[in-house]
């Protein structure tokens, strides 16, 4: 933890110190999302190697309460645009999360591959699901978080920055959501 906070401090020399300083907020981020980019908390996403632009947009949505998750709304409250971007830049440099360690069920993996080809997930999210720009990294993400996010898009309870995911999820059922999350969490 100390090493990351030191890194944060080096990256953000101009910020005032204090209880609500960016370092303190980053410590709160990493406590749930994982110091090394990998979350160990159920339904809390791993953030390592997420594209900085995607992170900036999400932090902005949280600050503006356009995406409502109380813990996130609180941690971003009062941050300037520049601070949101600094926070995003720091988190984007954390290492990518490791995929789930069990041996994948080939049938489920194959079903997911067919779905991905049909819905072109790997056009926007990249062929290795590393994400880019406004599109998040999916490779090695927590399976429970992926299921939750996809269900929220499907039920129109999570607003994206734009409506791309709602377009895609219109034609995807819950069984398929489970297969997609299973695949992405185990991607090597």
């Amino acid at each position: 933890m100390r090493r990351f906070l030191a890194a944060a401090f080096v990256l953000l020399p101009a910020l005032p110190a204090g209880a609500d300083s960016l370092e303190a907020r980053l410590a709160a981020c990493l406590a749930c999302h994982g110091e090394k980019g990998q979350s160990a908390v159920p339904e809390v996403p791993s953030l390592g190697a997420q594209p900085a632009f995607y992170l900036t947009i999400q932090l902005f949505l949280f600050r503006e309460r356009l995406r409502v998750v109380e813990a996130m709304n609180k941690v971003t409250q009062g941050l300037s645009n520049a601070e949101l971007r600094d926070m995003a830049d720091f988190i984007a440099k954390l290492p990518p999360p490791r995929p789930a360690g069990d041996s994948p069920d080939p049938a489920r993996m194959e079903r997911a591959r067919a779905l991905i080809a049909q819905h072109r997930c790997n056009f926007c999210h990249n062929r290795d699901y590393s994400g880019e720009q406004n599109v998040p990294r999916l490779a090695g993400q927590r399976e429970d978080y992926l299921v939750r996010a996809l269900r929220e898009y499907k039920s129109n309870t999570r607003r994206g920055y734009d409506a791309s995911m709602a377009d895609v999820l219109y034609a995807i059922g819950d069984e398929q959501i489970l297969d997609l999350a299973y695949f992405l969490a185990r991607l090597r």
Binding site: D89, R120, C124, R127, N134
Partner: protein, 438 residues
């Protein structure tokens, strides 16, 4: 809202300052019954003595893996997202923008993140909406000094605006509300008062465009909740309601998602843009300009696209002859959005009663098109004679430095254009005097 220094901002700036000279827009006449493509720079014919080089294969997928796209192709098809912060005024793409001779463009207001629909109040206030964000803004002009105020926030995709006798109507994702006597209380606006909420909640095409008809009713787009699907009976339509929220009636059906409409100043007929489906092909279907001649007409979605071909999945057993045909095709994936008939007197006479249409620009196409304002000229019978680009330059090297969303004719005849990518409103004027002064 504005922060000047950041890596993302620099990225935007780098795009903005890409050399303009590389891509001079060519003004080309375009007839409505021809396929509408972006005017291309003419290329020299190959010399007769040189052999014509073979076409290089460029696979769209990884060989042997049809489930994995070619990285170059996929990259150009990723949806485009704007910064959530408006760009500072001195970083707006004005120097790159091109207009016909003797027209001029200036920044009307900057720092309006995700500036979408435009409406003019009776006392000259310009109202600006959001789609990705939650605000409605008012731009007040006091003798050329302009001030932008937030008059509503915490709204759900408040894209649609209409104005009638002092009252601003706001269409959100699932409701329409109003702000009475708003121009008298811009500094202390009341909370919007809901008048209508009979909408399904859907993120896909869930934002609304709204306008006030010549019958003093609110017309609102109720989009299809998908890229391509059989929409629920409540969706894929333009609906009208009375100003008190009563008497809802379907005006047009078979609409995928209209984000712009207006009424012919003489015939009072409703014309609307409609965005064609994605992921069918690079070049098909084109976005449509439609004309409603009878209440309740069906414009084809999801069975028939651009008036002349049936959908590859949902079109079986149907014929395009069952549906109303578009009066103009506006380019594949070009995202034709806001439109207004030109009723002002500042521009030359040829623009009178023609339609200015903002094309937001494509994302579902490897070589982007649109990102401009075009002008469609009509025949006496209300059909479209031709259309041509009017304001261009937002698209540079296949990247957007701005994306036009809506247009608004001002009382003096100038034309406002909103840009949700750079977060600004521009003003287009015409006149030898003004040009000479520069």
């Amino acid at each position: 809202m504005i922060a000047r220094s950041s890596s993302l901002q620099s990225l935007l700036l780098a795009e903005i300052f890409v050399a303009v000279a590389l891509a001079p827009p060519v003004l080309a006449q375009q007839t409505a019954d021809q396929p509408a493509a972006q005017p291309a720079t003419p290329t020299a014919a190959p010399e007769a003595s040189k052999p014509i080089p073979p076409i290089q294969p460029q696979p769209s997928t990884v060989p042997g893996r049809p489930d994995i796209p070619n990285a170059e192709v996929a990259r150009e098809l990723r949806n485009v997202a704007p910064l959530p912060f408006g760009a500072p005024e001195d970083k707006l793409p004005i120097p790159q923008l091109k207009l016909p001779k003797d027209f001029k463009i200036e920044v009307y207001a900057s720092g309006i993140a995700n500036a979408r629909s435009l409406r003019l109040g009776d006392k000259g206030t310009v109202f600006v909406s959001n789609r990705l964000l939650d605000k409605v803004y008012a731009i007040v002009d006091r003798g050329g000094r302009r001030e932008t105020k937030v008059i509503a926030s915490g709204l759900d995709r408040p894209n649609g605006l209409a104005f009638h006798q002092g009252t601003l109507y706001i269409a959100e994702g699932t409701k329409i509300s109003k702000l009475e006597r708003i121009e008298d209380q811009l500094d202390n606006p009341p909370k919007p008062d809901v008048i209508y909420s009979d909408f399904l909640n859907h993120q896909s095409h869930g934002w609304k465009f709204m306008g006030l008809g010549p019958d003093n009713k609110l017309y609102v787009n109720v989009g299809s909740p998908c890229n391509i699907c059989e929409p629920p009976a409540t969706n894929g339509q333009i609906r009208r309601i009375a100003l008190d929220g009563s008497g809802a009636e379907v005006v047009a059906r078979g609409v995928r998602n209209s984000v712009g409409f207006d009424w012919h100043p003489v015939t009072k007929e409703l014309y609307f843009t409609d965005n064609g489906r994605d992921w069918l092909s690079e070049d098909l279907p084109e976005d449509e300009l439609n004309r409603v001649r009878k209440t309740g007409q069906h414009f084809g979605f999801p069975y028939c696209h651009q008036g002349n071909f049936t959908d590859r999945e949902l079109g079986w057993g149907r014929s395009c002859e069952e549906f109303e045909k578009p009066v103009a095709l506006l380019g594949p994936h070009s995202a034709a959005l806001g439109m207004r008939f030109y009723t002002g007197r500042m521009f030359p006479a040829k623009y009178r009663n023609s339609i200015f249409i903002a094309r937001h620009g494509s994302w579902n196409r490897t070589k982007k098109i649109g990102g401009d304002v075009i002008v469609a000229t009509l025949n006496k019978d209300g059909s479209v004679k031709s259309w041509e680009p009017f304001l261009t330059g937002f698209l540079q090297n296949n990247q957007y430095i701005g994306r036009p969303v809506d247009v608004q004719v001002m009382k003096d005849g100038s034309l406002l254009v909103s840009d949700d990518h750079a977060g600004a409103v521009y003003r287009v004027t015409y006149g030898g005097d003004k040009v000479a002064k520069r």
